[in-house]
Symmetry: C2
Subunit: 492 residues, 2 copies
């Protein structure tokens, strides 16, 4: 295979800058790192130190944005723009961090990607007042174009002839077209990790910007999605794009003589790696601490970023309705709510975080007794603690109003100690793969969600174990290496 390039907003490493000017590197996780490692033959899940073993895969380069001061400093110190990873190897890839001006980055990332495209694809707008596209939106959009162009420039400069480029997500929807314009010899894939909006909602975007996003992705040879539903919605939007011809049977969009294939590549869990991680001592320590808090009560767990789409407030309302309608659970159940900070730059997220806090406090106040705390809310991110909660959970609640995939729903069943029942929103991409073994709910239907939790708590141990088996099998059926290899294979 020829050279492989990856482009994504967040890269596989980040740097922190200490007072004396020292840069400390931290590796991130995620499916892309292990997916890329499997393609290149480089290390993935270990500490990443170069083993000296021959790499049998293609050369790889990962282009990402510098996200903080440490990243920016690291990017500036790299003489040719490629980071010195101090002997570390990221899935076999070299890394180039783009030092995009902070104001440009802020507008592209927050105003366009997160406050516009994310909102459109997740149907999050309070439409009577938002979105509101005005002169400022146009300026934000120019930054989004500049941000995408920076990626296209970097990819175009470093790509070998005929290389494959895998461009990731809604931050980079214009980059495929920009890269094709610069380097028509490349094979370009784009992958959307979000849902895709139906045409009637996609129309909220200003006409020209909506067209630019579609046209941008159609600059790729292949456009990938996490679920059939999102791929179909993308085709539906393309069918309304001037000059585009959609073939739903073949799954192609033809525009300006160029054909883009559209495919579905589900993303699952690397089961072995996750089970190993969940068996580490730091997880065991947290397991012990949680057991001390929960005692022998039944445990309902949720683990989310505090993201508008994750539907934490309605989840809490469902828990409240459970305690009202089925008072027999009072004193016998604990709801563990992990709600990690997210996108605090956007006012909607700060307000939502406050709404979560208030809803949780009201439940504690209404139902708590000296001997029983009905709800534990934790807002600091602690992955080993999440794994401990997964292992202990009797019920896992995953109720997003809309979600590209949702990996929490796939992680918990894989590491569960005693089997856990999954209450899952039908609006998560994962629902298509897990439907047979989960209790599906309409995320807007609080009563239905409460009844599903009740049913999950009552589920016989054997049924619970059998469902856990089925969920874990489905969750690990499409590990990251296959997901990423499929994106590249679709370019052949």
């Amino acid at each position: 295979m020829s050279q492989v390039l990856v482009a994504s907003n967040r890269g596989p490493v980040s740097f922190s800058l200490s007072g004396d000017g020292t840069l400390t590197m931290r590796r991130g996780g995620g499916g892309l790192v292990s997916g890329l490692a499997a393609v290149t033959g480089g290390p993935a899940q270990a500490d990443g130190r170069r083993s000296g073993a021959a790499q049998d895969g293609p050369e790889a380069l990962w282009v990402c944005a510098a996200l903080g001061d440490g990243d920016r400093e690291a990017a500036r110190r790299a003489p040719d723009g490629r980071l010195d990873l101090d002997g570390h190897d990221i899935g076999g890839a070299a890394v180039r961090m783009l030092d995009i001006p902070a104001a440009t980055f802020h507008r592209a990332y927050n105003a366009v990607a997160n406050a516009t495209l994310w909102f459109v694809h997740h149907l999050l707008y309070d439409t009577p007042s938002m979105p509101h596209f005005d002169a400022r939106s146009r300026r934000d959009w120019q930054s989004y174009e500049a941000y995408n162009a920076a990626f296209a420039d970097a990819l175009a400069r470093d790509a070998a002839a005929g290389a494959k480029a895998a461009i990731q997500d809604y931050h980079l929807s214009l980059a495929p077209r920009m890269l094709r314009d610069r380097r028509p010899d490349l094979k370009i894939a784009h992958f959307s990790h979000t849902p895709w909006a139906p045409p009637e909602y996609y129309r909220l975007l200003p006409d020209d910007l909506g067209e630019r996003v579609l046209d941008g992705i159609l600059g790729a040879d292949h456009a990938g999605f996490l679920a059939e539903r999102w791929a179909q919605a993308f085709l539906d939007c393309c069918a309304l794009l001037p000059g585009a011809k959609v073939d739903r049977v073949a799954g192609t969009v033809t525009r300006g003589g160029h054909v883009t294939t559209v495919g579905v590549h589900g993303l699952g869990i690397d089961g072995d790696a996750l089970r190993r991680r969940a068996a580490e001592p730091d997880v065991a320590a947290r397991l012990e601490a949680l057991r001390a808090q929960v005692g022998d009560r039944r445990l309902i767990v949720r683990v989310d970023r505090t993201e508008l789409s994750k539907n934490i407030v309605r989840g809490l309302a469902a828990y409240r309705e459970l305690l009202v309608n089925h008072p027999e659970w009072r004193g016998r159940v604990v709801h563990l709510v992990f709600a990690y900070p997210s996108r605090y730059d956007l006012p909607e997220y700060r307000e939502y975080t406050e709404a979560v806090r208030e809803a949780a406090a009201r439940i504690t106040e209404e139902f708590g007794t000296p001997g029983w705390n009905p709800l534990i809310l934790q807002v600091n991110d602690d992955f080993p603690r999440s794994l401990a909660a997964y292992r202990m959970a009797d019920v896992l609640l995953v109720n997003p109003i809309r979600d590209g995939m949702n990996l929490v729903a796939k992680e918990a069943p894989v590491v569960s100690d005693n089997g856990c029942a999954l209450v899952l929103s039908r609006e998560a991409g994962a629902a298509a793969e897990l439907a047979d073994h989960a209790l599906l709910v309409n995320p807007y239907d609080v009563s239905q969600t409460a009844e599903a939790i009740h049913r999950a708590l009552l589920m016989p141990r054997e049924e619970c174990a059998a469902r856990r088996e089925g969920l874990a099998a489905a969750a690990t059926a499409l590990p990251p290496r296959q997901w990423f290899a499929d994106q590249l294979a679709a370019l052949d």
Copy 2:
């Protein structure tokens, strides 16, 4: 033709109750009255006093809800339930007002029809927090069922064998099925005056309730919509309904052996009647008053209920952007904003009304001078004044985020004195009929709307007059009598 029955929440008359117990009747207007009159041969636009002339059409009965204390009293005094209309005749129809218990009515009308179905079809929800279906929603739904059953009962009781029933709008989506169950001999039509939600948004409804609404309308032999787009969305939703078979070419839905045809019946203006009304003295008086306020400045007019879907706040923002980007208009233009009270029972509407007031006040404060008031906001409903504004307007702004049809966009061009340019949202059903002669805008795109107003103000007088001609012709092409006759004809 056999007997015709009409069912709608609001009837053609209303009663007020004075302190001494006297009931005073007021006739309402609307397309249904004149549509029905044309079918029955009864009077429509006159004072409705029975002329003694033979009615050559079928017998007609109009079933509606008692909406206030006067209506309820009138319904109670009617010995057989049929109102004594004191010699008046409503489009040739007798009227039966249903005295539905106030709490039932409130929940059916406000909580389900207006705060749920209306929100779904107009995409109005602030999805991270609303809708929120819980135990209370179920109780509200039971009231909606009872409300629909009251209509079905009344229709079933009074319908002659083989009669035609024309059931109107989202308040009565269950009534067609309920009526068919009671009287399979009848021919039943349902007509939606709203848009219809795309399936991805319709799914917000609890599964069983969403199915009940579709199943309710599919109890009709014919389901009518104002625009092709809404009919298609209905078919799209039906395609996901268990047991339903959709034939898009024929425009039919088959379920349980019963076939429902789906059709589009645009609703326009009775041009002659409206022109006559606009020439009356009360309109002339208001015209004079408005001229004194506006002087020789250019006039931008909007006329709306203060309804979340009407997009008044973004319209004001567009006017502001016009004054910022094109300061040459300052002092030379006035924006007349008629925003009538609507649905004050719902907190969202009270907040929206306040937001309109604030946005208007900010513009006056920012741009107003001692000699120029840039904006006049009127919140009291005054139809003759609206007609006067239509006659004077240089630009009519109609920018709803979503609208079944929008008759304001059709009324103004018909009565305009000097031609008026129409800035029209592409999300209004009327856009399909008026597109050739209007300036279409994306209602979320404030900048585009501002530029369209600018262009409208600059439109040469001849182009303006020519467009007015085209708009008036399109607006009157489908008068209410044809619209209503088509609904009935679709049952043959």
